[in-house]
């Protein structure tokens, strides 16, 4: 495996869906190549930052009108 192939396998690796032989080639390359180690770390950092984005909230009036709609639909 070379670096150009490595970067295209990062998502499959992180999801743990590589077949055992490919995963071994991936890990072997990772052990030998600082550039690819750094690339993988940067992808991980990107994923962490995405998970850190501030939460969104429904406007209070939308929430109120949905609760009212729920009350109106009696069985």
């Amino acid at each position: 495996m070379n670096c150009e192939q490595f970067v295209e396998q990062v998502t499959a690796f992180l999801d743990g869906v590589m077949d055992p032989a490919s995963e071994r080639r991936f890990v072997d390359h990772l052990a030998e190549c600082d550039g690819c180690g750094r690339y993988l770390d940067q992808v991980r950092a990107t994923v962490r930052t995405l998970g850190d984005l501030p939460p969104e909230n429904l406007p209070p009036e939308a929430r109120e009108s949905l609760l009212a709609a729920f009350r109106r639909t009696d069985v």
């Binding site: 998502t11 940067q42 995405l50 009696d74």
Partner: protein, 206 residues
């Protein structure tokens, strides 16, 4: 706030228990809103899509068959509501979604001593000690997310922003695991590239 299990939740919603409805409304609207924002163009209101979704949930809860989790079912209703506005096809991957995710010029060519290897290693990024950067970094990531093609944005939002696993995202979007991975992979590489340009002051790859 811990949600009760699906069985109890569904029973309470069907019994028109308003506290149960408020519970799911408050727990899931944030995620729904973010997902809606990944579909609708700026002019349209994501909150409107979320409201339509909840109205459909209120109307449809008696027909919920429990073939997926309640939450997946609700998120699927949002996806269908949002898609109906735009008529998009999710099952096939357009050609623009194939091909390398890192600029091939960064790797050695066939004539170089090490074909396919980094000509120059990716530049290091500042470490976590640069906490002052956090807000700016998040803003850059949010901007990159907004610039993604819609299908990639939707998958990245569900996987990495909202934290769903691959199986859940496939169930919500009704796409295959392989398509889901292609979209996620491209989206992550794009956002990583933008962060790289931000940190190293380089050019953004096309």
């Amino acid at each position: 706030m811990e949600l009760p299990g699906d069985e109890e939740l569904v029973a309470r919603l069907r019994a028109r228990d308003e506290a149960a409805f408020a519970l799911v409304l408050d727990s899931w609207s944030g995620g729904l809103l973010r997902l809606a924002r990944s579909f609708v163009s700026t002019g349209e209101s994501a909150a409107e899509v979320v409201q339509d979704t909840w109205l459909a949930v209120i109307k449809g809860i008696d027909g919920f068959e429990g073939r997926s989790s309640l939450k997946t079912w609700v998120f699927r209703i949002l996806v269908n509501t949002a898609k109906r506005r735009g008529k998009r096809e999710y099952r096939t991957i357009p050609a623009s979604d194939l091909g390398p995710t890192v600029d091939p010029a960064k790797f050695g060519g066939p004539g170089d001593p090490f074909p396919g290897h980094w000509l120059e290693y990716p530049a290091p990024w500042p470490g976590p000690e640069h906490a002052a950067l956090d807000g700016e970094v998040r803003a850059e990531v949010a901007a990159a997310l907004a610039d993604l093609p819609e299908r990639q944005r939707v998958v990245l939002t569900l996987r990495d922003v909202e934290g769903y696993d691959s199986a859940e995202v496939c169930a919500i979007l009704e796409i295959s695991a392989a398509n889901q991975r292609v979209l996620l992979h491209r989206a992550r590489a794009f956002v990583r590239g933008r962060l790289d340009a931000y940190f190293t002051g380089g050019e953004v790859a096309p």
